[in-house]
Every structure is written in C-alpha cells, then in structure tokens.
Symmetry: C2
Subunit: 385 residues, 2 copies
C-alpha cells in the first residue's frame, strides 16, 4: 500500500523497459500501439519513449508525405544496432563466430578450421583471429560488443572451465574467461555446446513451441542438452545431460557401428565415413542399413534413459548427423517404442552445425537483458563484468 | 504508471495475502512485526489484519495483565484450524491417511492394511473407511476438508489415472478422482508416490536445503521422484522419473539379489526377507554382504543414469529399504564413483513409509495456497473444483 520514492523510480525504470520490450522485434510502432503492448497509458508511453529516444535506445521514424487525412502518427523503432553480442563455437575441428545485433539479427558469421590436436593456446589464438575478422568485417571494435558467450565441449563449471572432462586437447587446464577478459570488458560466459544447441532450437529451431526439450547432439560424439519449463538445465555442477558417460547406455561406442561398416572408401575421413554410410543406407545398401540400425539401437538406449527420466515433449535430433535424420529417425522411433512408456515427438534439427554459435548468441542476448533489468537503462553502452 | 481501480483492488488482495503468509508459521505477532515481514506500512497492516480477523482468517491474542510499562501490543495469530487438508497413500499393502491443518500441523494419522490383490473397488472402499475414521476421530466431516491428494504407484496423467502402468491390480482402469468427487466438493488430486515422497523430503525431510533433488524409493520396487529448481518435475505426460522401466539400468531385477540370498528363513514374507538380509549383512554374514553388494551394484546403474542426466545436489535414499541405509549408502557411493563425473550428496530418508502421505499433504496445502492466490481471500471456506 505504501509507495516510496525508490519504488516509483524503480517502477518508472521497469515501465521504460517494458517499452523497450514492446519496441523490440516489432515494426516501427505508434505510441498507441506501444501503450497497448505494454499495458500503459498513452501519455505515460509518450514521456517514456521520448526519454528512450534521448538516451539512444529508440529512434523516430517521421511520417512521410502522405495522402491520408490528418497528420499521420509518428512511429518509433528500437535501435537494434545500439549494441552487439558475439556467440562463438569452439569446436574440435572449427571455430565459428556469429555477431548479432540486440534484436538477434545476425550481422556477421565467420568460420575457420582448427587442427583437432591444437593445444589451448593455439586454439585460443584462432578464436582471437576469428573475433578480429568478424568484428573487422562489420567495422566494429571489441568495445562495441556487449556480451560474449563461448561454446565448448564437456561440462562447464561456474568459472567457465571444463575441469571434469572435454575432448578438446589440454582444455581441462584452459581458462577461456581469463583469455577473453584481456580483450573484452563486457560479460564473458562459457557454456557447454549441447546446452547451447538446445537453447538455439528453442529460440530459432524446431522446438520453438516446446517447454520440455531433450536436444541430442549426434555426431562422432553423442551428447545431450536439456530444457525444462523453458529453462536450460545446467545441473548443480554444470554437468546435466552427461548421460553419455554411462557405459550401460552405449553412446560412447554407438558411432563405431558406422565407422566399421564394410565398403567405406579407404580415403574417407572419420566424418565423411559416417556420411558415406548414411548415403549408402539411403540408396538401399544392406550392410549400410544394418550399420545404421546398430547405431540407432545403441543411440536409443541413452535416449530412452533421458526420455524415461524427463518425459519431455520433444526430442530434437541435432548435430552433424542430423543431415541424415531421414534414415535415422524412423529406426530410432521403433527402438524407443521398445524402451519407453510414452513416446515424445522426434524432430530433426534444421540449424545444422551453427546451433552452438546461435545458442551462444541467445545466451549473450539474455545476459544483456538481465543486465538491463538489474542495472536499469542508462544511455546504451556495454555492461561491465 | 497508470493504475486502475482493478489494479488497486488486486493489490489490496495481494497485500492481504502477504499478511496471511506473514502470520502463518509464526508465533502470535504484533502489527509492527507483521509490517516488517510483509514489507508494508504499519497503518496499512493495521487495516488489513483487522479485515482478516473479521473474515475469520486471523484471531486476536489480547495482551494479558502485564507488569510492563505502557500498554502491551495486541498480537495476531493465523487461524490454522480454519481449514484442513487430507493426504492419502494408496499403497499395495496399506492405506495411510494424514489429516493436517492449514499450517501443516498433523492432527490425525490412520493406517489400515489392504490385500495386495484387492481390486480397485475394494481398495477404494478401504480408502473411504480410512477417510471416515480419520475425520471421525478429529470430529470433522468431508466439508471441513479443503483439498485432498491421493498418492498411487505408477505414472499419473492429468486426469488422475495411471493408464500407462501400475502395480496396483486393476488400477489402470480406476478413476479415483471420480470416486472421491462423490464425497468431496474440494479439489482432489492424484499423484505418483515417488513424486510425493520427493516433495515430502524437501518439505520436512532431509532435503529441505536443496533445490535439485533425486528421491529414490527403494524397496521391493524401485522408483524415483525429481525436484529441480525447487519444483516437482511431472514430465509432459506425468511420467518423469520412470527410469526404472529401462531394462539396461537393472532396477526391475535389483531387489532379486536380496530375495535370493542363501540363509533367509523359509517363513519370511518378501518384505521381511530383505530386512533379514540387511540385518545379516550388518552382522557380518558373508552371503548377505555379497547380496547387498549385488543389489547396490544394480541399483547404482539407474541412480547413475539419473545423476548423469540431472547433476542434482542431493540424492535421497528413501522407501522401505531406507531403514537399512547404514549398509547400503557406502557401497552405493563406491559404485556411483565408478559411473559418474560428479557425485551428489547421498542422504538417507528419515520419513520412512509416511513420506508419500506427507508429500500428499504438502501438495494439498499448495493447492489451497494457489486457490487463495487466484480466487482471493473471502471468509475461510473450502475451495470448489
């Protein structure tokens, strides 16, 4: 009942934020439209949006010469390019950076191969080069970046380290947060690749309508990322989704069924071998079809463990093998029917190998939003760690 | 910025509820104390608490003759007995009902054995008798009950049915909600026994400090209930926690290692046989020790699947076998070390076989609270379905 001065100033700040949310992701809007979306009065919105224009969060679109009767209403748009965020996938074979504005529009993408056996210093130097190049191509400097999220393989602890395990050579001793802190004063976060992919599927992928999602990263390694009630599950120590470490579920060896399929050209690299087997199975090759069936049979044990534990709405089949979902999903569904009490929907990812970087962009945007909520809206500038 | 009349009336209602929360579970409190707890001004609280007394939610404790200087402050207490809730465990071998007031104080407990092979009609008649008796002993009628929660074995769908599977004979076709609706006009809810036990452990048991909890119901059957971020996980179709259905995790057969231990007296019932083995292991019997080790080895595979999937803070070992946690937890910990990346804390339940009914009481109390939040505070009376 009692309202103090601090409450009022906080309320003004929250109302201002609700105008930002109402502007963002929408076409240029009138005060009346904004008032409707934000649930505030027109005179209040008029004052708030003027302040946002003054501060640099919004800009005016003056009505052009128009044949309409009366003066057309002024429209406002969010200045999506007031700031940018970076999502970076640090993979075993590649570094992929995606630069996005504050509305999640991608304004730059850059990929560079990296040697699988590269030690952390070499891998982080490649990360630096990719960052320089993607920012340079956009005419930006590190100070223009408001948040950075880096995706790596293996469970990530609160310090951004993968001390438990990771297939990135030497990376258990790496400190990527410290490395990036030398160049960025904005928040830097490290997250597990499967978890980021799950976030990307719910943001821009095939699971936008679902709140309970199991994401499978299927490739030469198999992993999982979990979203429950719309929230990424990290686990108490950052190790949620690591069911693949349990020998009984057979994920560690499942891709071997593909690699050992008779008929694979001797010259094929590990990644190409699997693609060859999937294509041969698609073409009706008996040995390849058997290999795919053995792979899905073993994959299904771990998927069933996740499904029986969580009873999700959707399982997304993603990662490098998702290009071959057409030959995997049906046998996988049949296997799951044997194990599970209730079958979730199975969907194939369409984000391909960009899902990790896209999920990293989404988490970086979330970081910017949570800073706005906690620190309030001053003139647009990068938050500090 | 704009505040409508509806907003103000809703704000008054929420402020009134915050006074209820501030009264409940506390000793009789002064207006000053309530104002501090609710974050409201003293004059506002004075008005609100008077209204609560008028409506029957609170009562005044008039200050007694006191030697203190000046007039001692009047104190208010929540009328915990304004309403009651029922939690009922419908087990294979027993029906257990617990009656609680609105503060969660237990005012009645009643247990009656039931034949394991009793069909649903007979089992529901036993439920009726137990309800009659526990209410009768407290001098109450069904209309005095504000919410009922019933715990059963097997995944429960939104209609309160266990159509997927349950060890209660014939129960997949039973409709306990419809049965209880004939006697209660208040909300009636059915929930899985493992899920209810998990809720009880966080409410009154050994996991009160944890937000991410795996509860193990260990007995002749093994099951699991999950709490993540402090919220019970039901799953999209009510089947979360059913990892035991996966053959690869060996929960279906794990207790057989105990039942088949050499030396068990021929006269022992199935439940007693396990207790005999645990005691013999405690006494140093070699065969019994081996049997317990085999049991924990198989139990650990499913626990590891849950731990690797969810990375919880705490695993609670509960259910009938929790009385023998002293001979189980250490071997279980050793086995988990082999499978897991990160070990959660292992704790033994102290709620014994009342955890299901206690969890049912807690969910019924939550139901009452959510009705108060959505419907507001009129004079105390049972909510309707």
């Amino acid at each position: 009942m009692a309202t103090t001065g601090t409450d009022l100033s906080r309320m003004r700040e929250l109302n201002q934020l609700s105008i930002v949310w109402a502007l963002r992701g929408n076409p240029p809007s009138t005060v009346t439209e904004l008032a409707g979306r934000a649930g505030l009065s027109r005179p209040a919105v008029d004052v708030l949006v003027q302040a946002l224009v003054t501060d640099g969060w919004a800009e005016v679109e003056e009505p052009g010469a128009s044949s309409a009767v009366g003066r057309p209403a002024r429209r406002y748009r969010f200045r999506a390019d007031a700031g940018h965020v970076l999502g970076i996938d640090v993979g075993v074979h590649k570094i992929l950076a995606v630069l996005s504005d504050l509305e999640g529009n991608l304004v730059g993408t850059l990929r560079r191969p990296v040697a699988p056996d590269a030690p952390p210093t070499a891998r982080l130097s490649e990360v630096d080069r990719v960052i320089d190049d993607v920012l340079g191509a956009a005419g930006m400097a590190p100070a223009d970046v408001w948040a950075v999220t880096l995706g790596v393989t293996g469970p990530v602890d609160t310090a951004g380290r993968t001390s438990l395990s990771t297939p990135l050579p030497g990376w258990t001793a790496a400190d990527p947060v410290a490395h990036l802190a030398a160049r960025f004063s904005c928040p830097v976060r490290i997250e597990n690749d499967c978890k980021l992919s799950a976030v990307a599927e719910r943001w821009n992928g095939v699971a936008q309508d679902a709140d309970d999602i199991v994401f499978l990263l299927a490739g030469l390694r198999t992993g999982a990322g979990l979203i429950l009630d719309g929230t990424l599950r990290r686990g108490h120590g950052g190790a949620a989704g690591e069911i693949g470490a349990l020998k009984a579920v057979r994920w560690l060896t499942a891709p071997d069924h593909l690699q050992s399929c008779p008929g694979i050209p001797a010259t094929a690299a590990p990644g190409e071998a699997a693609a060859w087997v999937f294509q041969a199975a698609r073409d009706g090759d008996r040995e390849a079809t058997k290999a795919v069936r053995r792979y899905t049979r073993d994959l299904a044990v771990g998927v069933a463990a996740l499904v029986l534990t969580l009873d999700p709405q959707v399982v997304v089949y993603g990662g490098g093998f998702s290009r071959s979902a057409d030959v995997v999903l049906e046998p996988l569904r049949r296997e799951l029917t044997k194990h599970c009490l209730r079958l979730p929907e199975l969907r194939a990812s369409t984000l391909g190998d960009e899902s990790v970087a896209l999920g990293a962009v989404r988490l970086a945007l979330d970081e910017v939003d949570s800073r706005l909520l906690s620190d309030g809206l001053s003139a647009p500038s990068a938050p500090h760690r």
